[in-house]
């Protein structure tokens, strides 16, 4: 029976093996076979939702096999309400990315497709791994396909961008490895993540470990001031690369805070929560202003991604001030769930925004806002989609973009008025940078001959944007199913961090 297979392993290895097969299939069959494997993985990931038990915070679909016995390293997998939605987001997005590359990527399509499929498996591995070494291997392995995607199919400054991307992320992860090894020594050689959660650590140890994790995850999210690799990477990456980068890879940073920083070093988190909150608010306000003046569409969306991810990290770290103010960790659930919802929603919206830019980039080969104007005249269908996703990006109610921001802003008021005040400026800034771009790109008279010759969406592009549009609308009108799966896990985590470890 299909369902007797260990589902998480299947999800990790199907796309990886599939990717290798695509590589062998050659150019002619690359697209069809890649689509087959990505759709297959997506279908296989559905039981993850349908068979998920929302009443427990324990890890589900667990797998445990001895891997490297001499170092006590296990092949241990499992998901809870925090990682499960992220895995489904990954399988969903990969299908769209394969579709988006269909006739656009002419150079070595089989390698391009294979890179994305392999990356899909590795990213699922990151979300599912419950052994620190296994996690670290997936974490680092993830860099390789992305490095290749930007380096081979990227734009003119791709070498600078890849090196910057690699150095930034590598710098962070090395310190994380040291922290993991240190904890394994403290835990008598065990690398079990769940074991780390209950490992007693002094405040000083926690502070060092927290700092190591912070660097690793802050780079990934990315948080100000270690964010400058992202705009460069996005600008140079091909459309599919930008989509995966924004939709999934950034989430891994946020996921790291939830799976590592908060539960392993709760007291250090409590000591330094102001720092994270400050960095998040800088991301919202400072980056909002920076996004406003960008003249390159992809850069603008990249900066807007940073601002939106600021809401995720803000939501996660509100818990300690809320405990101070209200005396109850339960009150913080709204913010943390809001942060997770924001991550999922940003996955859809940023993917859609980058795909929109991809659509017109494929036609005009320019990302420069000034080269456009009056696109709505020649591409009305595309314009309708782009306005819709831009509104979602600006957090309009009825779209998924609203839900997370709304939850986090409501909750941050409980922490401090000024946090809520600064966070809520996104209402103005987000609308300003997104809609100003819309005005300059879409509206107005036809700006030049290139715009006059544009063709509207083809069926493939229509389907991709349509599917994303449905997702954005659905979770905007009915986010209940999304928050339902995370309640138990979030409550468990909040309760865990409210207890002193030493």
């Amino acid at each position: 029976m299909l369902f007797d297979l260990p589902i998480l392993s299947t999800l990790i290895w199907t796309p990886i093996i599939g990717g290798l097969l695509v590589l062998m299939a050659g150019e002619k069959w690359a697209r069809m076979s890649a689509l087959f494997f990505s759709v297959l993985t997506f279908i296989l990931s559905i039981p993850l939702y349908t068979q998920f038990d929302v009443s427990t915070a324990a890890m589900q679909f667990g797998e445990l096999k001895s891997w490297i016995p001499s170092f006590n390293i296990f092949y241990q997998l499992g998901v809870d309400g925090i990682s499960m939605p992220l895995i489904i987001l990954t399988t969903f997005t990969t299908v769209l990315v394969v579709l988006s590359a269909w006739e656009v990527i002419k150079k070595k399509p089989e390698q391009y497709m294979a890179a994305f499929l392999i990356m899909e498996g590795v990213m699922i591995g990151v979300f599912a791994a419950l052994d620190a070494v296994l996690f670290y291997i997936f974490w680092e392995a993830m860099l390789i396909p992305m490095f290749l995607i930007i380096g081979i199919w990227g734009g003119p400054r791709r070498v600078y961008a890849t090196i910057k991307f690699f150095l930034y992320t590598f710098l962070g992860s090395v310190l994380m490895l040291i922290a993991l090894i240190y904890m394994s020594i403290k835990a008598d050689g065990s690398f079990s993540l769940l074991g780390f959660h209950t490992l007693p650590l002094t405040l000083e140890e926690q502070l060092y470990i927290f700092a190591a994790f912070l660097l690793a995850f802050a780079v990934k999210v990315p948080m100000w001031p270690v964010h400058t690799w992202l705009p460069d990477a996005h600008v140079e990456a091909p459309t599919g690369g930008s989509v995966i980068l924004a939709a999934i890879m950034l989430k891994i940073g946020g996921y790291g805070f939830l799976r590592f920083s908060l539960p392993i070093t709760p007291d250090a988190s409590s000591e330094l929560d102001w720092l994270i909150i400050l960095m998040s608010l800088v991301a919202v306000v400072y980056i909002g202003f920076v996004a406003l003046v960008q003249s390159d569409m992809k850069k603008l969306i990249a900066y807007s991604s940073i601002a939106h991810m600021g809401f995720a990290t803000l939501g996660f770290f509100l818990v300690f001030s809320i405990i101070d103010n209200t005396g109850s960790w339960r009150e913080a659930a709204l913010g943390m769930e809001g942060g997770i919802v924001q991550m999922i929603s940003h996955g859809f919206i940023s993917a859609a925004m980058f795909l929109c830019v991809g659509v017109i980039y494929d036609r005009m080969h320019s990302r420069n806002i000034a080269d456009y104007g009056g696109v709505v005249n020649t591409m009305p269908m595309f314009a309708a989609f782009m306005v819709f996703f831009s509104m979602a990006n600006a957090g309009l109610p009825g779209t998924s973009g609203f839900v997370g921001e709304f939850m986090v802003i409501l909750n941050s008021f409980k922490a401090d008025f000024w946090i809520a005040f600064l966070a809520a400026t996104t209402l103005i800034l987000g609308a300003a940078y997104t809609l100003w771009m819309v005005k300059r790109v879409l509206y107005g008279e036809v700006a030049n001959d290139n715009v006059a010759n544009l063709k509207d969406l083809n069926a493939r592009e229509f389907v991709i944007l349509g599917v994303l549009g449905i997702a954005v609308l659905f979770f905007g009108i009915y986010p209940g199913p999304l928050t339902e799966v995370m309640h138990s896990s979030v409550e468990h985590l909040l309760q865990h961090v409210s207890i002193q470890k030493y």
Partner: protein, 650 residues
Amino acid sequence: MQSIYLAIPLAPLFGAIVAGLFGWKIGRTASHLVAIAGVAVAFVLSLIVFKHIVIDAAEPFNGTVYTWMVSNDINFQIGFLIDKLTAVMLIVVTFVSLMVHIYTIGYMHDDPGYQRFFSYIALFTFSMLMLVMSNNFLQLFFGWEAVGLVSYLLIGFWYKKPTAIYANLKAFLVNRVGDFGFLLGIAAVLMYTGSLDYAEVFKQAPSLSGRTMEIFDGHAWSILTVTCILLFIGAMGKSAQVPLHVWLPDSMEGPTPISALIHAATMVTAGIFMVARMSPLFELSETALSFVLVIGAITALFMGFLGLVQNDIKRVVAYSTLSQLGYMTVALGASAYATGIFHLMTHAFFKALLFLGAGAVIIAMHHEQDMRKMGGLRKYMPITWITSLIGSLALIGTPGFAGFYSKDAIIVAVRNSELAGSGFAYAAVLIGVFITALYSFRMYFMVFHGKERMDEHTREHLHECSAVVTVPLILLAIPSVLAGAIFVDQMAFGGFFGSAIVVDETHRIAADVAHHFDSWWGLILHSFADLPVYFAAAGVLLAWFLYMKRPDIPGMIQNRFALIHRILVNKYGFDRFNEIVFAGGSRQLGNLFWRVGDEKIIDGLVVNGSARSIGWFSTIVRHVQSGYLYHYAFVMIIGLLLLLTWVVFR
């Protein structure tokens, strides 16, 4: 009844979806039929609801449609609260919307975006209905932003027009400034009551009075005052109160039917509705009420002045809308919520009428909006002329017309108010009456009377518009005359809204006033013993004198008071200030953060800097790696010596 409640917003939504997604396929006629049918259904059902709730006096309905989300043990719900306040709003929204839908067939006849337009206005109707039917803050905010979205889309409907796409961005952003406050207000409500449900929040509100919060250390502010003012900032954006009024005049770049529907009759009154809905909260904070009162009074008076110097027919009506919104806000501040809603209703009728009348003139004049090129139109467009006259008379508060009852009630309420700022507010609304009459009849005389100043070609083609345009004008003219007399007893002075509106005992001015009057005609008689009616008459007379009798005088006044004129033409400089300080400032700040913060400091100094310093360091260190054995041996000996010295002398 519940399925009726659900059908009211869904019928226009259905029309919007069909016209929007399939309009290209089913064609123009089918699109407008389905959109109009949707709104017509909503209107008929609203009448049934009105009968059920108001005439049969059924219990208010408060129920959930579905649970949007659960988090933190808070149920975020989509649900309806149908009480008398909602019932009145339903009638106003669906009736005006239906009239505008029909009118649009004529007005947008030749527009290539015909189906899109119908889709938008039907979607607007849906959003507005969700807003007024809401029983909680979440859905209120939903509707609130959704009407903002449709307003954005409709102002920029003619997307090739640079002024239109400037205006729609401006409208959206200024509204977002208001929503910024509004959302913080909602967050405060949730924090202190633990719920977003109206019923629950209002139940808990009294227990909050007297409690304080500290926003700035050491300054304890009343929680309710802060919350109410934050919520009111939202209303200031939507209902265009000073200083967030700047978007409304520019919104006139959109097609005229939406100016009537969205920017006069319904959406801009959402803020008024919201504050009235929140009366159980606002009643608990006199500071907030004073704030509301003063903002409203400033808007009522100073926006009226601007109407005097406009030559664009739509802009005159727009400034008059701003000023009238100020009147409604003043009523709210004086705790006369019911009167505010009453004026909202009568205003919706006569202002929609005036806008649609202006639209009819604009069509007839081949999209000429400058009043200086009009004149004497009454001969050519009799129906438009008569209905516009009715609208103007209602607007200035001529005894007997709808606007008279509602405006008079506001003035009386403010006079009796004892809040801080009520003296100023009373003066403002009283002078406002004179100004209103002056600019309204200035427009009326310039358009319909006097010399025919249009060019020959236009004059030859002048004729009354088709029935789809004139019938809505006539249908709107009827309530512009009658709605006041019918509802004045109940709405202005009686307890019409029942439990929907709460007024504190100490603020019950409106009720006191009620003793003096026994009927609608008694009010007319009594008005001649009071000031407003003479102020209005003076305004009309002056307009007649200046624009009919001695048309040379306005120019002289303009030259004589050039400075004042310039201030008025520049709209007190709000636009310039916003353009330079907020728009320009933000761009400069953005550039500063980007060029200096990101590129110079983070990338230049830290990232590339560390790369460079590593490079620099290695070029130096490289010299050590010379490859000569004797160099290495020498370094080893020196090293050994240093080590020994350290061991010996430490």
